[in-house]
Every structure is written in structure tokens, then in C-alpha cells.
């Protein structure tokens, strides 16, 4: 085993440990802010795994989209709904956790068995390595053109949908009279959409 092989192995093992430990921390820690930052670490480690697989474009996309957008969005959500609340104790909570852990262990055993037993068609064709970015571009503008365009429409829909869902209909009081500007909004508001807990 020469030096580059052992370095690759060491990198893989380190990144795997970071991914597994970080994801365990994400689901087990009680403080949600720690979970969010650990999630960012897990995303970075996954990007490192992509670099190890010679996929620099996808690694950059992972860092930009997941760490830069999704993780920040999650942190914003935590800040917006940050209320210390005592969770009601539920009966059978421990039994539930143990049961679901059993189910997940069964799923894990199944997946591991499939991973190890299936005769994969190894070795495949030679990897193109650093030309992967060029090849992804060719794919996106030839045989995956329709999904590419649909993805742009999907992103637009998600953007508009998120704005519509998260918009807050604020009743702005008129400066001169002190009356609320939008009277019809008050009349329509049968459900308490305007509870202000701040």
C-alpha cells in the first residue's frame, strides 16, 4: 500500500467518522442550535467525500446549496420559532424509541446485507476524473434538458409558494387616525392568524 492509497483511506475514514458522529449529534442533542451547526459539519464532510470521488462540481454545489442555503435557512427557522417550551411528557415514549430503533436496525441490517452480497459489476469503465464538470454540462443540455428546465420551474414554484405560505398579513395602523388600514382583513380573520407572542 503506497502513500496516496493510505492517504485516501485516511481521508475516507476521517470523513466517515465525522459524518456518522455528526448525524448522531444532529438527532440526539437536545439543543437544536447545536444540531443545526453539526448539520452544517455533516454537509461539509459529505462534500469532502464527493471530492474524494473526483466530483469537484457536485462538491461545490453541495457546499453552496446545502451549507450556504439550506443550513442558513434552518438556522433562520430556528431563530424565528425559538421558544423555550416544555414538552409534555408522553407515556410509552421510551418504548416508542426502542421500537423504532429496532425497526431502523432491521432496515440497516437489510441494507448492509444488500451492500455486501450483491455482485456489483466491478470494475466499471474508467472514471473520467476531472472532466466530470464538462460531462455534467453536456448531460444537462442534451439528454437531461427537460428535467433541467423543469427544475427551474420547480424552483420558481417553490419560491413563490414559500413566500405565500410564510407571508404575514400585518395590520398596519394608520399613522394619522390610529385606525387599522385593512378593515376587511380583520373581518375575514376568524382563525387566530395574528397571534403575536413576541
Amino acid at each position: 500500500m503506497n502513500i496516496d492509497h493510505s492517504i485516501e483511506l485516511i481521508c475516507f475514514l476521517t470523513l466517515s467518522i465525522v459524518v456518522i458522529a455528526g448525524s448522531l449529534g444532529v438527532i440526539l442533542l437536545t439543543n437544536i442550535v447545536y444540531s443545526a451547526f453539526l448539520l452544517g459539519g455533516v454537509f461539509m464532510a459529505v462534500a469532502g467525500l464527493y471530492l474524494l470521488l473526483n466530483a469537484s462540481f457536485v462538491a461545490a454545489a453541495q457546499v453552496l446549496v446545502y451549507v450556504g442555503a439550506v443550513n442558513v435557512l434552518i438556522l433562520f427557522a430556528i431563530m424565528l420559532v425559538n421558544k423555550k417550551e416544555e414538552l409534555k411528557p408522553l407515556k410509552n415514549l421510551q418504548i416508542r424509541k426502542i421500537l423504532s430503533a429496532g425497526v431502523c436496525a432491521g432496515l440497516l441490517a437489510l441494507l448492509v446485507r444488500v451492500d455486501l452480497i450483491t455482485p456489483w459489476a466491478l470494475p466499471g469503465p474508467n472514471a473520467i476524473g476531472e472532466e466530470a464538470t464538462v460531462r455534467i454540462g453536456e448531460h444537462l443540455f442534451t439528454d437531461y434538458l427537460l428535467p433541467f428546465e423543469l427544475a427551474s420551474v420547480l424552483l420558481l414554484m417553490a419560491m413563490i409558494g414559500a413566500i405565500v405560505l410564510a407571508r404575514r398579513d400585518v395590520l398596519v395602523a394608520d399613522v394619522g387616525t390610529g385606525d387599522s388600514v385593512d378593515q376587511s382583513l380583520i373581518e375575514k380573520a376568524k382563525t387566530p392568524i395574528l397571534i403575536d407572542k413576541s
Binding site: V26, V65, W120, I136, I193
Partner: protein
């Protein structure tokens, strides 16, 4: 199996890592009572699937790398899902003033 001389890290090692990550995500999805943590678990599961796709793309489909294209699409859809999910969460929080998953039972039988 994991230490042959040709390749230091085998395909199976990546698949095992992805399996562990996916199962951790499933457990977190079932057991989290904080709604934000449920969304985080979904992101973990999506990342596990992405690792799988990337490993297959690198080891079995090295010339066409269709797995990498799929990963790019999965990342796109995950970003859209996170945005809409967090917007729904904010709207829910405004209506119910809690983020405990046990209180979101309006459509339960």
C-alpha cells in the same frame, strides 16, 4: 474486502456509510418532537441517497457519470423542499404557537 491493493476505498465502503446515514435519518425522522429537527433528518436522508448515487456514478458508470447529474437534481429538489417545508413550519407555528410534533394532529383520525 476493504483493503485490496487496487483501490484503497471500495464501493462497498461508501454504500455502508450511506446505509448508516440513512438509518440515522429515519430514526431521527420518527423520534424527533421538534419540527425543525424532522426537516434536518430529511436532509440527512437525502444526503445518504446522494452519497449512494455518487459512489455508483464513480465506480460503475465512470464514463457517463449519470449519477452526478442525478445528484445535482436531488440537491435542487432538496433546496426547494427545505424552503417550502420551513415556510409551512412557520405558518404552523403562527397558528398553533408550538413546534411540538405531537400537537400537529388536526388531520389525525
Amino acid at each position: 474486502m476493504f483493503h485490496n491493493s487496487a483501490e484503497p476505498v471500495t464501493l462497498q465502503a461508501y454504500l455502508l456509510l450511506a446505509s448508516f446515514l440513512f438509518c440515522i435519518g429515519v430514526w431521527g425522522l420518527i423520534n424527533s418532537r421538534n419540527a425543525v429537527r424532522v426537516l434536518m433528518s430529511i436532509e440527512l436522508m437525502l444526503n445518504a441517497v446522494n452519497i449512494n448515487l455518487m459512489a455508483f456514478s464513480s465506480y460503475l458508470d465512470g464514463e457517463l457519470i449519470r449519477g452526478q447529474v442525478f445528484t445535482v437534481f436531488v440537491i435542487t429538489v432538496a433546496a426547494a423542499e427545505a424552503a417550502v417545508g420551513l415556510a409551512i413550519l412557520l405558518s404552523l407555528y403562527r397558528n398553533r404557537v408550538t413546534i411540538d410534533m405531537e400537537n400537529f394532529n388536526l388531520l389525525r383520525w
